[in-house]
């Protein structure tokens, strides 16, 4: 079927209502970028899932970063998005304006340069991400060890996709199929979703990030509702087995861990943390389980799990929570569902 037929099918679809979740934040952003929701029948609903790494980070992680940034001779080094995420009382950015030391970088390798330039400063890297970014942190560990760099620590909030998908399905999310994350699948391989597809008799479609690739995946899912299939619509870069070298590198430094997700709590085996023999590089990542809301009305958790739309949140509807005044993480990140709903003007 060619793409024009697929577009027509999806626009004219009048079968049973279908709810599909895109787990990956980059998909959420791509769906908004290409205006895909406007191309679907009202009977096909897309739900943004918990796939934006900063959105799913609990407040205690931010609080710990702030505590470190306020420690003498310690700098927190982070990607831009983390700076504006509210912790339980304030964000890293607000803390920086009070004198805490926070530096923004663009890649984990930048921290090596900083650490060498400032040998008397302890650099704590906010290592946040999914399977996609985690290998970069493993490579950073390689360099820290090989180059004997002693003034770098990692505060990790690293998460893995399959366990949270399992958690969503087991907790009654009303989802009929998943657009599986393209970048994550490069590392994990598409087969990682097979057990979940079979367990819940639900289709998974690995998709690329071009609009037509996403539409093709949506079509594949709609045609496979009720069947435990795994489809790979991103075969140029995703294999069934994934990237073995990256997986081995991860296994060398990290072990599975019961990660805490914003609004969802601890999910067994849903993250990774530095192994005990590398604990000296860890800035206290274990046990950051508290998840206090910056604003008690924030519905981040409900939205992240697809049980509510951003527009259902009183803070969103009341314009209390905006990209300028984010009350929750989903309004900060470019990949956050609230941010995307806001900038694409759904309610304005």
């Amino acid at each position: 079927m060619d793409i024009d037929d697929i577009k027509k099918y999806l626009k004219d679809y009048d079968g049973p209502e279908v709810a599909l979740m895109e787990v990956c934040g980059s998909h959420t952003a791509a769906i908004a970028r290409d205006g895909i929701k406007a191309m679907l029948s009202p009977r096909i609903k897309l739900i943004a899932g918990p796939g934006c790494p900063v959105c799913v980070t609990p407040s205690s992680y931010i609080d710990r970063l702030i505590e470190l940034a306020e420690t003498p001779d310690t700098w927190v080094v982070t990607f831009g998005d983390m700076i504006r995420i509210p912790g339980s009382a304030c964000s890293l950015g607000e803390s920086r304006s009070q004198g805490a030391k926070v530096t923004m970088v663009y890649s984990p390798a930048d921290i090596i340069r900083l650490a060498k330039k400032h040998p008397d400063i302890m650099h704590v890297f906010a290592a946040v991400g999914f399977e996609t970014t985690a290998p970069a942190y493993a490579l950073l560990m390689d360099r820290l060890i090989a180059e004997d760099i002693e003034n770098v620590r990692l505060l990790t909030a690293l998460k893995t996709m399959p366990p949270v998908i399992d958690w969503l399905c087991a907790n009654g999310a009303e989802i009929d199929g998943f657009i599986a994350p393209g970048h994550v699948s490069v590392i994990t391989g598409s087969e990682v979703f097979r057990p979940l597809a079979e367990k819940y008799s639900m289709p998974f479609a690995v998709a690329g990030f071009e609009g037509e690739e996403i539409l093709t995946a949506i079509y594949g899912l709609v045609k496979s509702i009720g069947r435990g299939e795994v489809m790979n619509y991103y075969p140029q870069v995703v294999t069934a087995e994934g990237n073995q070298a990256a997986k081995e590198k991860l296994a060398r430094y990290f072990r599975p861990y019961d990660a805490v997700w914003r609004g969802m709590g601890a999910i067994p085996g849903s993250g990774i943390i530095l192994k005990d023999e590398y604990a000296g590089f860890d800035a206290g990542s274990a046990g950051l389980s508290a998840d206090n809301k910056y604003n008690s009305e924030c519905m981040c958790g409900t939205i992240l799990t697809g049980r509510a739309e951003p527009e259902d949140c009183p803070l969103f509807a009341g314009k209390v929570c905006t990209p300028q005044t984010p009350q929750g993480a989903c309004m900060v990140s470019f990949e956050g569902s609230c941010y995307q709903s806001y900038i694409t003007g759904v309610v304005r």
């Binding site: 998005d81 037509e212 300028q324 003007g345």
Partner: protein, 328 residues
């Protein structure tokens, strides 16, 4: 040689620095009078603007802070239909700044001013503590002919939107250098004098003109839609983006619609002038890749819509937040 605090003393070292670095490069009659202020011929209507430039790195493929600080101010004058005439510059030098690099920057300013047809008529230098940085403020004066009145509130239903070239080169260049990513993307740093004078001399009835700088095309057009209380619809397939910039953006998750240029403009003209205006821009220096990218419609006032290449629609807002580093 490096800049020291002494160079900012106002005494001997300052005088030597001005003589050695600035005087020869900017050589012109007004400046060499070395008076407290410049006295120059005027016009009954003038446009005045000022801008400060803080960019890392100071030199990058396609330009440097010297070219940037002239282009930025010249282009701001042009966008109101002014003919740029005079520029002033204030340098804030950090201790440790390299004098050879400063000379290159100043030469680049002089060359760009010459290209743009403006005279640098006044200047100032201060030295502050720091790590060898160079910051520049420029102010500009341009002459505005009687009857010329360009403003962001003048877009009308039926008007056509033209972009003078490909999006995002300056932004992508600066980010590439900062992130040490190897590619051959070059900044589009350029004064848009030729494009604007060709349009105005041909009598094109320009309703609005804006240079596409920080915030990118989407931010500029959204602001126009709001100021003019019209809807603007643009076509993704018509928006020119260089292939290399496109793939750079793809890798980093950036959107060319929100990336800054330093040598591109959008202009909004009546439909019956559109093809002529496009041809004039394409024949002008720095306008060869110009395209008609959209139109002003009768839809919702203040709304900017992108018709996506795959047939969807996307509402565009101004750039939100500041996740990206400052680029100019």
């Amino acid at each position: 040689m490096k800049i020291t605090m002494e160079h900012g003393s106002g005494g001997l070292a300052t005088g030597q620095l001005i003589k050695e670095v600035f005087e020869d490069a900017f050589d012109n009659k007004v400046l060499s009078e070395m008076e407290d202020s410049a006295v120059v011929p005027g016009s009954s209507r003038i446009a005045v603007t000022t801008d400060s430039f803080v960019v890392t790195p100071l030199e990058y493929p396609g330009g440097d802070i010297g070219r940037l600080c002239i282009c930025g101010t010249v282009n701001d004058l042009l966008m109101r239909g002014a003919v740029p005439k005079y520029i002033t510059c204030g340098f804030i030098l950090q201790e440790g700044a390299d004098v050879d690099q400063l000379k290159r920057v100043v030469k680049s300013m002089a060359d760009t001013a010459k290209e743009a047809g403006v005279t640098i008529v006044a200047g100032d230098t201060k030295v502050v503590e720091g790590e060898g940085g160079i910051m520049v403020n420029t102010a500009g004066v341009g002459f505005v002919a009687e009857g010329v009145d360009l403003s962001s509130s003048k877009c009308e239903q039926g008007d056509v939107v033209i972009a003078s070239g490909t999006l995002g080169e300056h932004h992508a260049t600066i980010l590439s250098r900062r992130m040490e990513i190897e590619n051959s993307i070059k900044s589009d740093n350029a004064p848009l004098v030729d494009i604007v004078s060709n349009l105005m001399n041909a009598g094109i009835e320009i309703h609005t003109m804006r240079d596409i700088t920080r915030g990118g095309l989407a931010t500029v057009l959204k602001e126009l839609a709001e100021a003019s209380e019209v809807e603007i619809d643009i076509e993704e397939t018509s928006i020119p983006v260089d292939r290399q910039v496109k793939s750079f953006c793809g890798i980093l998750g950036l959107d060319p619609l929100y990336m800054g240029n330093e040598g591109k403009l959008v202009c909004v003209v009546p439909a019956n002038d559109a093809e002529k205006a496009l041809a004039l821009i394409k024949d002008s220096r720095y306008g060869e890749n110009a395209c008609i990218i959209g139109k002003v419609t009768s839809g919702t006032a203040g709304k900017l819509i992108l018709n996506t290449k795959i047939g969807g629609h996307r509402v565009l807002d101004v750039l939100q937040g500041e996740g990206l580093p400052r680029i100019c």
